[in-house]
């Protein structure tokens, strides 16, 4: 299986010995993994094992939580994500996020997509139109909405709304897209559409997805990381490898037990 579709063969995101604490509670312990560029990396594991916490570390979404403390090395293209000189707004432009429930803004389809670029100072109508069309095309939504860009995004179906949210992320030209259970609110066909879109996006983007749906992780990802909780409920990485290896011959008994449904 091709793991690196892009020109770069180094890890896009690198975590070494990462610990995450919320006050006195340790949510993640000693996480070390390299996330390859232009590929999809899935994080799987039982509820509460720290999957989403890890994902949120990658664009510093945890910053707003009181008492949060991050230790270890977490780098994007070799530069520390938690360096004090990092501009969090710029970081989140480079590392976009798609959430569990589609969350279009209560405004038109056009304005939803143009929102990010406008925030970053782009106001030229022609430029915005180009960005909106390109983003919607890239998110495989253009053909369905090109004649109703002025209509409210809230009128779209759930699957369309989620593709709109992906288009909204693409509009600010990120490098990494984080997806936290992006299909859990969608029907099976809309889910498969999003998965197809994700595969198409790996040509240009690095994707990290957290999912409870093991089958989805198996279908869509190139690399898979299995997290579970230690006795003190801190999340730890049990096994990380190519998706093909993890789902056909896991090395760790705990991974085997989880993916065969013997625990979890």
């Amino acid at each position: 299986m091709t793991i690196y579709n892009g020109a770069c063969d180094c890890g896009k995101i690198s975590a070494k010995g990462v610990n995450l604490h919320y006050g006195s509670f340790q949510a993640l312990r000693n996480i070390t993994l390299e996330i390859p560029q232009c590929a999809i990396t899935a994080i799987i594991g039982p509820s509460g094992c720290g999957k989403s916490s890890f994902l949120r570390l990658l664009n510093r979404m945890n910053d707003i939580i009181n008492g949060v403390r991050v230790e270890g090395v977490l780098q994007l293209d070799g530069v520390s994500i938690y360096d004090k000189y990092v501009n969090v707004v710029d970081l989140r432009k480079r590392v976009g996020m798609v959430f569990q429930k589609p969350n279009p803004f209560p405004m038109s389809i056009f304005d939803n997509i143009a929102f990010g670029p406008r925030q970053h100072g782009i106001n030229n109508r022609k430029v915005l139109e180009e960005i909106v069309e390109r983003s919607l095309r890239h998110a495989a939504l253009w053909d369905e909405v090109s004649d109703k860009l002025g209509q409210s995004a809230l009128a779209l179906s759930g699957g369309q709304q989620q593709r709109l949210c992906i288009a909204r992320v693409l509009a600010v030209e990120p490098e990494v897209i984080l997806m936290d259970e992006p299909c859990s609110a969608l029907d099976p066909i809309a889910t498969l559409r999003i998965e197809d879109l994700m595969r198409a996006l790996t040509k240009d983007y690095t994707i990290v997805i957290v999912t409870h749906n093991m089958q989805q992780a198996a279908r869509v990802s190139d690399m898979a990381a299995f997290f579970m909780m230690e006795e003190d409920r801190a999340g730890m990485l049990v096994e990380y490898g190519s998706t093909s290896q993890i789902f056909t011959k896991p090395r760790d008994k705990r991974t085997e037990d989880y993916i065969t449904g013997r625990f979890g």
């Binding site: 299986m1 066909i189 498969l192 559409r193 998965e195 197809d196 595969r199 089958q215 198996a218 279908r219 998706t243 093909s244 789902f247 056909t248």
Partner: protein, 222 residues
């Protein structure tokens, strides 16, 4: 709009791999009979060596099938196609073994003078390869009608084998000195006859892939 494009591409790649493996096996059969006709021991050795590649190809395809089942949750005709591929590649590998078997007999025969001009064996080989080729095309094209037709054609191979068997028995009865050479020719023909039976198994998998029915079509007399 088609969905699951990546999965369907991987499935199509596996189908192409089966055709490629089929070509390797067709070549092995034709070469084995050519080696027999021309007493070409070098070619016979090559067939024996090349069989390793056929076996490797089978394992590679099987691994890809396992990966698709584990990661893509194939359903309905896709699932049947993948299950059929694992059966078909097993049959192909065995047919490759029959070709290898003929090559070993060629080496055993060495430069012994021919018992009789080779007519039936090349005809059996050509017919077997034709059946094999069309059975894999039928698999690729989801053509169960052709698959059923090929199973009927197996009778032709059986007739050729029986005719040759009778002729060789009469040789042996008339002159016991021919027993060794005649027996070896019977082995060759038997390998081809068995290969054709394996092709009928492939055809049954084609029917299963298309219709979902697991059935024995025109149960072979042998």
């Amino acid at each position: 709009m088609e969905i699951r494009t990546e999965f369907h591409k991987k499935l199509a790649d596996i189908h192409s791999d089966v055709l490629a493996m089929g070509s390797m096996v067709e070549k092995a059969i034709l070469h084995s009979v050519q080696a027999l006709k021309e007493r070409d021991l070098t070619l016979a050795e090559q067939i024996i060596n090349d069989d390793i590649n056929i076996n490797k190809k089978r394992f590679k395809i099987e691994e890809r099938c396992i990966e698709l089942i584990a990661t893509q949750q194939p359903m309905a005709s896709d699932l049947r196609a993948i299950m059929s591929v694992t059966s078909i590649t097993t049959e192909l590998e065995r047919i490759g073994d029959y070709a290898e078997g003929i090559a070993k007999i060629v080496i055993m025969i060495g430069d012994e003078p021919p018992l009789k001009p080779l007519v039936t064996v090349p005809r059996m080989a050509e017919k077997t390869v034709d059946m094999l080729h069309r059975s894999l095309e039928a698999f690729y094209n989801h053509d169960d009608a052709t698959a059923r037709q090929i199973v009927i054609e197996d009778d032709e191979i059986d007739h050729l084998y029986n005719d040759l068997y009778r002729v060789l028995i009469s040789f042996m009865v008339e002159d016991p000195k021919t027993i060794t050479r005649a027996t070896r020719l019977i082995w060759v023909a038997h390998n081809l006859e068995r290969a054709a039976d394996r092709i009928t198994n492939i055809c049954e998998r084609v029917v299963f892939t298309v219709t979902g029915q697991i059935e024995e079509i025109g149960a072979s007399k042998y």
